[in-house]
């Protein structure tokens, strides 16, 4: 490949790039403002964006193909690596999908435990996204204020499942073990301390003249266009559409919770920021309710009674024949999986996270497709930033909450 051909292919510099009136600018794939590995080829007229062409796939890991070879419980660690800012939601979305296929009914206590974990991860995802919007618009301190509270959330995960970022939390049918006292203590600590910090964070940003100037009217989208582009989650709600999977099709006993769905009106970066902030308050509210409801349930129940699909405790495997048999059957893939196709979606931190699973009765999925919310809505980016300043394009990108792992699967 000669030098010119190389430039054309990899740097997208066309032969006449020197003579033309616009400038080609590569934003990414490794740029501090993309917060992930994806590229934008921007055509710039001075400071204005004329057109943008997103290029993704830099960290594609073929999860859908791998999942066709793996039994269901080995797919959970793959889902961790989709939206790694809120891995537990992905894990539980996957477990709920498999449970729907297998017809497993989980006890209420398990549902509430899941809700607690899912809402904690929603908070951790939103606080990263919102504080990074701050970083990209020149307000670094907010990021430092809230970052240590993500640490508290990760400590809670660690106490429950032993890992922090890619959690692989829970099992099909429930959890691998019950929450211990430290977990409850840490949740209480978080619930006690975080509201004050979130209040402080809002005080720093919500009425901040500079922040408002940098975000209001940046990257707006109308309701119609957002729906046509398949927006979901906070980005859709910022346009004023009150669609939330937790309310529309409740899963994991979300119907027992009382919470409101915050909506914006203009769908710009500022509204997306406000919607996420308010959702964090609602998540705190949900966690408190779930903790209270959990106390009313019989203690010690942390998984559904489904010996066919739920791995028995190790102590039982070593001492009881029944448990040994089930352990062997589950690991060797000799349990019955019903053929069928199922679509299940959960409200992920950045939108509707769907799992389309086709089972042919085999040990692994015949086909598994992830509906990844940010893959779906990132294609609207060129429309959002057309005519905007380069610095606004950066703020718009971070306010969309784009996670490269989720986009590329």
């Amino acid at each position: 490949m000669d030098e010119q051909a190389f430039k054309e292919r990899h740097m997208r510099l066309s032969r006449d790039s020197v003579e033309k009136e616009t400038t080609t600018l590569n934003l990414g794939p490794t740029h501090p403002a993309t917060h992930g590995v994806f590229q934008n080829i921007l055509e710039m007229d001075g400071e204005r964006v004329v057109s943008a062409e997103p290029t993704i796939g830099y960290i594609h890991r073929a999860f859908e193909k791998i999942a066709e070879r793996r039994p269901f419980y080995q797919v959970t660690p793959l889902t961790d690596r989709l939206n790694y800012c809120s891995a537990p939601i992905n894990n539980m979305g996957w477990h709920l999908t498999v449970e729907k296929l297998l017809g497993i009914q989980t006890p209420k206590r398990v549902d509430y435990m899941r809700i607690i974990i899912m809402e904690l991860s929603r908070i951790s995802d939103h606080l990263i996204c919102n504080s990074v919007v701050g970083v990209d618009s020149g307000a670094y301190s907010g990021f430092l204020y809230v970052m240590q509270y993500r640490e508290l959330i990760y400590e809670i995960y660690e106490e429950i499942c032993g890992s922090r970022l890619t959690t692989n939390i829970g099992r099909v049918g429930g959890f691998e073990r019950d929450f211990n006292d430290t977990v409850f203590r840490k949740i209480d600590k978080f619930l006690h301390e975080y509201p004050q910090v979130l209040k402080e964070f809002e005080n720093l940003f919500n009425r901040n003249r500079i922040f408002i100037d940098r975000t209001v009217g940046v990257g707006p989208i109308s309701q119609e266009r957002a729906l046509n582009y398949g927006f979901t989650g906070p980005n859709l709600r910022a346009t004023g559409v009150d669609y939330d999977v937790r309310v529309a099709s409740p899963y994991s006993s979300y119907e027992d919770m009382e919470f409101s769905v915050p909506v914006g009106s203009t769908g710009d970066s500022y509204d997306r920021f406000l919607v996420r902030n308010e959702e964090m308050w609602q998540s705190l509210h949900i966690i408190r309710q779930a903790l209270d409801l959990m106390k009313k349930e019989p203690p010690g129940v942390y998984h559904a009674d489904v010996p066919k699909y739920y791995l028995p405790r190790k102590e039982d495997v070593y001492t009881k024949m029944e448990a040994l048999i089930w352990h062997f059957k589950i690991v060797m893939g000799e349990v019955d999986i019903p053929p069928g196709e199922v679509y299940h979606s959960v409200e992920g931190a950045n939108g509707e996270l769907g799992f389309y699973l086709i089972s042919d009765g085999g040990r692994a999925a015949y086909r598994l497709h992830f509906r990844r919310p940010c893959f779906v809505y990132y294609q609207a980016y060129p429309e959002l930033v057309k005519g905007a300043l380069l610095s606004d394009a950066v703020v718009c990108m971070s306010s969309l909450n784009l996670i490269a792992g989720e986009m590329d699967a």
Binding site: V342, Y343, E352, I358, H369, R371, F375, V376, Y378
Partner: protein, 175 residues
Amino acid sequence: MALTNEEIKQRLVEQFPEVLQEFEEPYGMLTFTGPRDLNLKILQFLYDDDRLGFRFLTDLTAVHYPEKKDAELAVVYHLHNMRENVRIRFKIFAPVSDPKVYTATALFATANWMERETYDFFGVEFVGHPNLKRILNVDEMDYFPLRKEYPLEDQTRIDKDDEMFGRGPDRMIHQ
């Protein structure tokens, strides 16, 4: 009155008599198959009809069934009526030798990348797509990796006996 699967089915059959088949309701979601050259007409009807109003394309993907002769590739649309909160699944089948399907990009902007992804992994050619090129894989790739003829593991390996772990002897190499 809430929109029921029964009513959706009835309206569809009235509009498209004798061409829609395989009405099923797996796990409560109405699923049906249509002829591939009518996919846009059906999607447009589902979109425009006042009562149906399936205006949100949740998901678009494909499935490869190598054993279905001349209907190897299924393109699956998941549509959502947000007002009534009803979802449906609509499938069309195309032969792998001529995988041409009309694009839904004029109806749903979101279909753009979804169709590019489907093309990338299954080689479904969406006729009329504004920018049909690979999205997640490298441009130089000359095959469609999610088709079933490409096994996940290296078939030249002889150190692994997959009898116990595989999905059936037909997909394994025995040395």
